[in-house]
Subunit: 651 residues, 2 copies
């Protein structure tokens, strides 16, 4: 279907918005009046620019507070509308959104509303303009979509139809089944917005919290299904007011918007050619990149600095060894080490980070760009160059970082094709001689995702690049989950990406207090739990270290913790005694937990034991043991962990 | 009265919180359990640290989900409570907050609740502990404060009383008059929080939007008045959960908190010695400071760079001259020029900015500090050194900035005494020989406020420092208002400061979209409108230039605009034609507005004409004419202005 988006949905000047929207592949736009009013471009220039970009102007919006008013107000309103018709002629727009009135001038009289809308439609028809009348959820007299339709039906003019807006319908809890009673040719326009389910004033909810389909809690596929049954053939258009998008890069927001529409089309059966999601079946590896120390770092006197990866490299090797990993191979062509324990694999990459690329083709704010670009970025040794997301604002991107993930895929090429169809940058597949080709993509936060078939007979495996290896025994069995810190303002985008591309299912997001702010955290997993990821963002307090971590599944954490505590107490994050006083007040737990520094959680399915290591660069490890089907991630203990981490970096 | 604050109300570790709270002069604290649990300090160490700081531990909080449960749950709950009693003994705390249950285990049976609370009180009494039972606004069965009191009354135990929390009472719309029916000795504790009036889920409202008394929409003075009538003699304690305070500097938040309690005490007649507010009667001057250009700026080839203030100085002099100002004097001892037109006075200060001081004595995050300190700050030539607030994050503080305001005060010493009593830094009064002494304070954003009596017979005037001057005629009559950009996260603090110190009355705040974010704006004025200020903050989008402006009242703006447009068109901010198309559709206005580039607004009292100049450094001027009692600030036009300003800096 034709895809449109309202200019209010992305940031920037009107010209910047049009550029970004066209670059993301939209067919048309709704021009939001306030964007035009503040623009130095004349309507004719806007029209020409849109045409040059291949964008249709599908709607001009909005005309407010028109209908059901006394005669003298009607005269002024008609005069105002005539000015807008002139403007639309100059713009080359032929559909005007008319919102149900919120004015105290209006009365609750459907016949009067219909009569005046008929009059307006009559005037509009002389200009070749059609009107789409929409019920605002907070309209004074008309606030339900079927009420707006009744008024349109009463007015009975070929140039008057209705506009459906998913937010106005679903925020009121109206049943969208009633849409099927409206003739498709009288639905002049369909505006789509999702939103998180919030109990708050609907106007504030609408102005600040709308989001793209799939990022909130509304059943948009269901609603669109009803609309399609009417025979509606107009655009699917996104109208999203959102505090995040107001400040985000316009090009990025427009891409996120397009991805949401593609996924929505798929959900309603309109995208027969979209490659299906290929759900990963496990983690093949996690890759840590260790940038060279800055030139100013004193290196000569430290013997460790001559080791690959400098002091972070030394500390990571010490940590991995303590956790029971062994170095099993070195990459044939690159300074990359493979560390293994059973099915858990960690790559240590001491390649210099690639030079920071220019960033996504962007038409966003130059101010915004200068604030976020230029941070050191982390590259992956297995990948060619790709567009990288700079580190989050306020971050300290120095030191070791989690740069790439290998996921086991039953169909690596299918995984990459799926990602590409959802606008993920697919990384070049060319490899050096003797290197296994790998399908790889870049996630919105710059993390590289490789699709692997590790050690599968009949398939070349990426592990071949590391030569012959011996299995490593131990209590760590595999990677349970990884936690990635998302760039500020792109949490919903990342969640939609991982959900759409990898078929992961998100849990509701949580708020986690730390001493200096508030994190938002969203866990996602495959249905069988084989791949679990946690996305974190600093929701309040921009000064967090963007910590990332790798949680390693352990089949005997008590024994492992005892060994670690005896041999390497300095490698474990200290947990305060007060935590155990509180834990023991709440649960009847063994005193062994306190002794070993293990954290504890439970849910209705089982219990969870875990511990954290110290942090190297941005990265730390967690050891976890799930007992009896526990499904969570120990989030209840995250505030204690965060406090201890802050204390660690401030010592 | 004794003043306390919950540790949750400020950011940081528990140790940092205690330090900040003590430094702000509080008598005691409520220890929030989560803060203790995450702390490496043992309860004994917390007790000793609080004692060393002179802080009492007035409350330990909270015990949740205790009452009205089946027998087997009661046993576990009593066990849990006994652990907390032990903990409180170690802490040296003897009052425990018990929140009404939200657990599905509890039943709606007041007799059972009372019986179990009686049992708990009996146990508590053995430890010398008292219990304060509080109705959470979202309690499962007990959510009204009078209901909690009925349960306490039924339970009838000397160690059981009630805790009143203004948020829980007022958020539900309960009438606080009922408090007077509770015997004062049964009110064991009083927690105070204000909040903006929001229509949203009360739990979310409570967790994220509480604020200090006077910063929200609740009548806290009225509530406290009712409590005092009962004979309550316990502390006034602040319990504020707030997303801003989570990340703000702890010392600063604690000072803001104390100021709010001092103002509240005054409002309920408990602060007989507080100097009364002295409402200013007008602006004496606005001072612009122009830092020396950075060494890297190419200066040799530009003749202007040899002028005092460099190119910004040249442009400001050009702008002031174009607006009809004349240079009337130079400071006897400092490189400061006085520019005047009728009663409007602008100081241009080309003194080098003072070196950035260490900032407020702070116990906040070292990360936060490193992100905000070190920005160039602007000093005032008239002042000695004082603690300065760094420029807002993400700001470009280079160039001319509004550093100080002179306010006409009927009693300058009284103004300064008032400010000092509300914890404003009072600046040293010493002056060089021949300089007039001026009472001055520093506002939270670092703006210096001078209290003046300009040209009043029998008083030495600050203008004496500038030698003999001639009056300057013109259409600009005086400073109508100034708009200051507040540092991120300190909007409510600044509003409370100006309101408490200067007696200005705030209007509700507004949201103003700009192309890359959202501003929040709050206007404040004296009752007669002689002093008006607008506080702005970048609420969404951290990348704004922290623009400041001086709005000059003009008695014939049409004539002035015509002259300016003819002689200096390049000095005026261009307004898009689309603005006038829209304005003319909405109002029947003269085409002269378009021709002259004047903006227009109206309210129920009158009309408003205004125009903006280009920006120099961070500063621009606005010319305004109020017709027929208009009371606003042209906020409806701010988005057009912001778009034009962004376009200007991006050209």
């Amino acid at each position: 279907m034709r895809k449109s988006i309202a200019t209010v949905s992305v940031s920037g000047t009107l010209a910047e918005k049009l550029d970004a929207i066209a670059a993301a592949g939209f067919d048309g736009v709704e021009i939001f009046e306030n964007d035009l009013v503040a623009s130095p471009l004349s309507p004719e220039e806007v029209r020409a620019r849109a045409a040059d970009l291949g964008l249709g102007i599908d709607l001009y919006q909005p005309l407010r507070d028109f209908e059901a008013v006394p005669a003298e107000v009607l005269a002024a309103n008609l005069r105002r509308a005539e000015r807008k018709f002139d403007l639309m002629r100059r713009l080359g727009a032929d559909l005007l959104l008319v919102c149900s009135s919120v004015s105290p001038d209006s009365v609750g009289d459907d016949d009067l509303a219909a009569e005046q809308l008929h009059l307006l439609a009559e005037r509009a028809a002389r200009h070749g303009i059609r009107l789409a009348y929409e019920a605002l959820a907070w309209g004074r007299h008309v606030s339900e979509y079927l009420h707006a339709w009744r008024v349109v039906h009463l007015a009975d003019h070929p140039n008057l139809g209705t506009c459906l807006d998913s937010f106005h319908i679903l925020s009121r809890g109206s049943d969208p089944i009633g849409i099927e009673a409206i003739p498709g040719e009288k639905i002049f326009f369909l505006q789509l917005a999702d939103a998180p389910r919030l109990a708050m004033d609907v106007l504030q909810w609408s102005r600040h919290y709308r989001c793209f389909p799939g990022q909130g809690g509304f059943d948009l596929a269901g609603l669109v299904g009803h609309v399609l049954k009417t025979g509606y053939e107009g655009p699917l258009s996104l109208e999203v007011f959102n505090d995040v998008f107001r400040q985000a890069d316009a090009g990025r927001t427009a891409g996120d918007a397009m991805r949401s529409l593609l996924a929505l089309e798929e959900a309603v059966g309109l995208a027969p050619k979209m490659p299906p999601p290929v759900v990963p079946t496990g983690f093949a590896f996690a890759e840590l990149t260790i940038p060279k120390p800055a030139a100013s770092e004193p290196v000569a006197s430290e013997p460790v600095a001559s080791e690959p990866g400098g002091s972070d490299g030394v500390r990571l090797r010490e940590l991995l060894t303590a956790l029971g990993f062994a170095l099993t191979g070195r990459h044939a062509a690159k300074p990359v080490e493979l560390w293994e324990q059973r099915e858990a694999r960690i790559l240590l990459n001491t390649t210099d980070p690639e030079p920071a690329p220019e960033g996504p083709a962007t038409v966003g704010s130059a101010l915004a760009r200068s604030a976020t670009v230029g941070s050191a970025t982390v590259g992956s040794a297995l990948a060619g160059s790709a567009t990288m997301e700079p580190a989050p604002e306020g971050a300290a991107p120095e030191g070791a970082a989690l740069a790439a993930l290998g996921l086991e895929s039953p169909d690596p090429a299918g995984s990459a094709a799926r990602a590409g169809s959802l606008l993920a940058p697919v990384l070049p597949r060319e490899r050096g001689p003797g290197e296994a080709p790998l399908d790889a993509i870049a996630a919105p936060d710059g993390t590289r995702i490789f699709f692997c078939r590790t050690g599968r007979p009949g398939h070349s495996s990426w592990t071949g690049d590391f030569g012959p290896r011996e299995p490593v025994a131990g209590h760590v069995t595999h990677i349970d989950h990884v936690a990635l810190t998302q760039p500020l303002h792109h949490f919903d985008e990342a969640a939609l990406f991982y959900r759409g591309v990898l078929g992961l299912r998100p849990l509701p997001s949580l708020e986690l207090p730390d001493p200096y702010g508030l994190l938002r955290s969203k866990a996602m997993s495959s249905d069988d739990g084989a791949v679990r990821m946690v996305l974190n963002i600093a929701q309040v307090g921009g000064q967090h270290v963007p910590w990332q971590h790798i949680a390693l599944a352990c089949d005997d954490l008590v024994t492992t913790a005892r060994l670690l505590r005896a041999a390497h107490p300095g490698l474990l994050l200290p947990i305060p005694d007060n935590y155990y006083d509180d834990l023991e007040a709440r649960h009847d737990v063994s005193p062994e937990l306190r002794e070993l520094g293990l954290l504890y959680d439970r849910d209705e399915h089982g219990e969870f034991l875990h511990l954290y290591t110290i942090t190297v660069g941005r990265v730390f490890f967690e050891l976890v043991q799930r007992l009896g089907g526990y499904r969570g991630y120990g989030a209840a203990n995250a505030p204690v962990r965060l406090a201890a981490q802050h204390a660690g970096i401030r010592r």
